[in-house]
Symmetry: C2
Subunit: 487 residues, 2 copies
Amino acid sequence: MYELTIPLNEEGKPLYEQIYEYIKTQIRERNLPAGIRLPSSRMLAAHLGVSRSTTQLAYDQLLSEGYLESEPRRGYYVAQLDVLFHFKAEQKTEMKKKQKENRSWVCDFSPRGVDLDSFPYGIWKKLSNNILNEDNRILFSAGENKGDYALRQAICTYLYGARGVNCRPEQLIVGAGNEYLLMLLNQILGDSSVIAMETPTYTQAYRVFERLGHRIVPVEMDAAGMETEKLSESGADIAYVMPSHQFPTGIVMPIRRRMELLSWAAKKEGRYLIEDDYDSEFRYRGKPIPSLQSADRGGQVIYLGSFSRAVAPAIRVSYMMLPERLLDVYEKTCSFYASTVSRVDQRILTEFITGGYYERHLNKMRSIYKAKHDALLAALEPLEGAFSVSGEYAGIHILLKSREELSEEEMVARAAEKGVRVYGLSEFDIRTRKEEKEAGTVLLGYASLGKEEIQKGAALLCAAYCQVRSTVQEDRACAEAEASSAV
Amino acid sequence: MYELTIPLNEEGKPLYEQIYEYIKTQIRERNLPAGIRLPSSRMLAAHLGVSRSTTQLAYDQLLSEGYLESEPRRGYYVAQLDVLFHFKAEQKTEMKKKQKENRSWVCDFSPRGVDLDSFPYGIWKKLSNNILNEDNRILFSAGENKGDYALRQAICTYLYGARGVNCRPEQLIVGAGNEYLLMLLNQILGDSSVIAMETPTYTQAYRVFERLGHRIVPVEMDAAGMETEKLSESGADIAYVMPSHQFPTGIVMPIRRRMELLSWAAKKEGRYLIEDDYDSEFRYRGKPIPSLQSADRGGQVIYLGSFSRAVAPAIRVSYMMLPERLLDVYEKTCSFYASTVSRVDQRILTEFITGGYYERHLNKMRSIYKAKHDALLAALEPLEGAFSVSGEYAGIHILLKSREELSEEEMVARAAEKGVRVYGLSEFDIRTRKEEKEAGTVLLGYASLGKEEIQKGAALLCAAYCQVRSTVQEDRACAEAEASSAV
C-alpha cells in the first residue's frame, strides 16, 4: 500500500479538491504507477487529519474519471493507463492576422452598405422592452420548428399584399439568414443538382451552392434577364433568379420571360425556380414589380426573402416559401430541425409587422434611399455622354458604364486615386472563362452614405474620369466637378 | 390604334394604378391582343381627362413589368406573351393537420424537458433593456462571421475554467444551434464521411448526419463507453461521442478509454472526435468531469457545446471549437458564411457570462435539479430489488431498468395506464437490427417537473410496476406506494 502525504492548504480550494488534484497529477506524471493500491478513504482521512467524507469525495471523483479503479472490499487501485499522455507544450500557433485592407476612403460606394442611422431603433427597443416586461417566459421554451405561427402568418399577409406571393403560413420556414435556408433547401432538394445562375450574380449564394457540392452553370442574360434558350441547353434542374431586380445588373424581368421560365420548369419533374426577392421593396418609380411566384400556377417557385436588407443586417431573419411538393418532402425528411431564430426576436418582428411599423419603415426608407439615389444621379450628370447609368430607380446601387475609353480596372484605379472606392462589375461574374474585355462598368452603392458624402464622392469621380477622357466634350462640367470636389 | 375607355373611380386607388390594373387585366385576359398599338400617353390622358403624368406612370409600370413594349417615336404595343397564362383556381390543398397526441398525462417524465420556471428571466430582461437603452445601434450592423469576439472570448474563458477546454477565441464559431453547426462542420470536413456513433445515442444528431448524407456506423458501448476495438473495426473516420455524460445512458468515459479514443484518432490523418458536451454542467456528486478536449494534445477533438440546455431552449446559441487543421479549412472555404445569431442576443449572453450570472445560474440549477433528482430516487425506493437505477447523479434524467420481469414495452404501457409517461431506451437505439429482447429500460426525466409531481409520478410508477411483479418481495412498500399515489 502506498502512503500519501498530501500538502494541504486550509485556505483556498476545498480540501477534497486539493486531494483529488494531487493524486491525479501524481498519476498523470507516473509518480503513482498503475496497479498500485491506495490507502482506504478512512486511513487517508486519519493520515491527513481530515474528515472521511472529504477523502471519499476525492476518491469518488477519481473513480468517475477513471484514474482509480475499485474492487469490492479490496480498495482503490491506480488504473492501467497504457496509452501514453503526450505532454507536448501547447503550440498555440497564433494565426497571422490578416492585415485587413484598412485604407480610409473619402467615399466608399459599397453596394453592401445599409443606412443604419435610419434603423427604427426606438421602436425596436420599445417592442423588445414591452415583450420582456410582459413576463413572456414561454418565449424561452422551444418554439415551432418552422418558426412561430404568428410570425409566419404576418409574413404571409405582408407578402401577399406587397409582393403578390400566394402562400399559406404552413409553407413558410423562418430561418437565421438566407444561407442557412439554402443549406436546408439543399437537403430538401436531395442529391446535388445542377443549378443555373445568372451571371453576374449575387456571389454569396453562388458560394453557398458551390460549398454544398452543386454544379453551377452560369447562364447569360439579355435585357430581359436569364436567357431561356440558354437555360434549356444548360442541363440545369434548378434556376436561381432575381426577377424583380437582378443583382447586380438591376434588370427587371418582364412578364414574358417570367412565363417562359415557368414553362421551362413545368416541362420536367423536379425542376424548380428559386426566386430570391432580396430587395424588391425599394423601387422609386411606379409600383413594386410583383414577384415571379405570384404568376406561378404549377408550384414551381421557391420564394426567398429576408429582413436583413429591409430592416437591418444583424436581424438574422429570412424566410423561404416552399411549393406543396417540396413542403411534403420537408415534412418527411427535414422537419426535425429546430428553429434557428430566437423566439424573442420572432415576437419583436411579428409585432413590428402587424403593428404597421414595417410598412411605415419601408415607406420611410424608400423616400430616404430615393433622395440619395436622386442626389447621386444628379451629381454624375457631368459624365453624361461618355458614361451611361443603368439599374437606376430601384435598389440601393446603380451601375456606371464607360461607353468606350475606360476599362473596369482603370475606372476602379482612377477612382481610388481620388480616394473613392467603386466596385467592378466583374467581381460578380461567375463564368470561369470571361469574355474578351468589355467596356468598364462599376457599381456605386449609396445606402450607407449621406447626401453630402454622395455629392462629394460623385464630384471626385467626375474629376477622375473627366481627366482621362480623350474626347472631352464637356470641359465646363468637368472643371465644375473638379472645383466642387475641392471644396 | 386601340381606344381605351377605362372606368375610373375618383376615390380609392390612385388613378395611375387604376389605369395600370385595367390594362394589365385586359392583356392577361386576351382582350388586348399582342401586337396592338395603344394610344400615346398624351392622347390617353386627354381621352380620360387625367394628367399626362398619370398615364405615363401607368405605361412605365406596364413597360417595367413587360406587358407593354415601346418603340421610339412609334408608341406602345402590347407585348407578345406567347406563353399561356394558366388561371387554374388555386388549389390550396390544406394539409391534414396531424392529430397530435394530445393526451394529458398525470406526469410526463420527458427527458427533453427543462425547468423554465428557473430561467433567469429578470436578469435577462435587465441585460436586454440596458443594452438597448445604451443606443447600441451598432448591434444592428453585420457582426463577425464567427460571432462577436467578446462573446467568443467569454465562452473560451468559461470553457477553460469549467471544462478544461484549451482554445483560443479564434478557434470558436458561434452559431444558431448545434444542428446548424453540424451543417457547417459537414462542409468543413468535406466529402461524406463514415461516422461512428454510440448506440443508444442522441437521435437528433443522428438525423442530422443522416440527412447530410453520411454513413453512420453504430458502435456498441461497454461500461466505459464506446468500445475502441469496435470503433477501429468500424471503418469510421469520425467518432461522435459524449464522454462526460453519455446521452441517454449517463455513462462517464474514464480517462483510459479517452486516451484510447485519442490514439485511435491520431493513427490516421483526417480522423476526428466530435465531443458533444451537451449537459456536462449538471453533476450532483463531486466535481464536473473534465472534457475530452482537455486531454487532446494532437488537435483531434472538435468540441461542441450549447446554451440551449443550460440556459433555455429558445436561446439559439451553440458553439463549436475547431482544432487548428480544421480551422484552416474553415478559413479557406467556409468563412464567408455570416453569423446566424442576432448581435443583441450575443451581447446579452456576453454580459450574462462575464457578469457572473451564468455561473450563478448554473449553481442554482445544479441545486434545483439535484433536489428533484434526489426526490425521484427516494420515491423510487420501493422498486429496489426488482429494478435498478443508473445514470444518476448527473444530467436531468435517470434510467430505470427491470432486472427481469418487464419488457420495455410493458414498462411504458403499465406506466401509461396510470397516466405516467416514460420513455423507452430503445427509442435512442440506432442499430438497424436490434438485438434480442433485453430487459426493459426506461428514461425518467425530471427537469420540468415540480417536486410534488415527481413524487406523485414515481408513486404511480411504483404502483404500476409492483402490481405485475410475480415475485413481490416488498409488498409493504408497494402497498405504501399504492396508497400514496392515491392521495
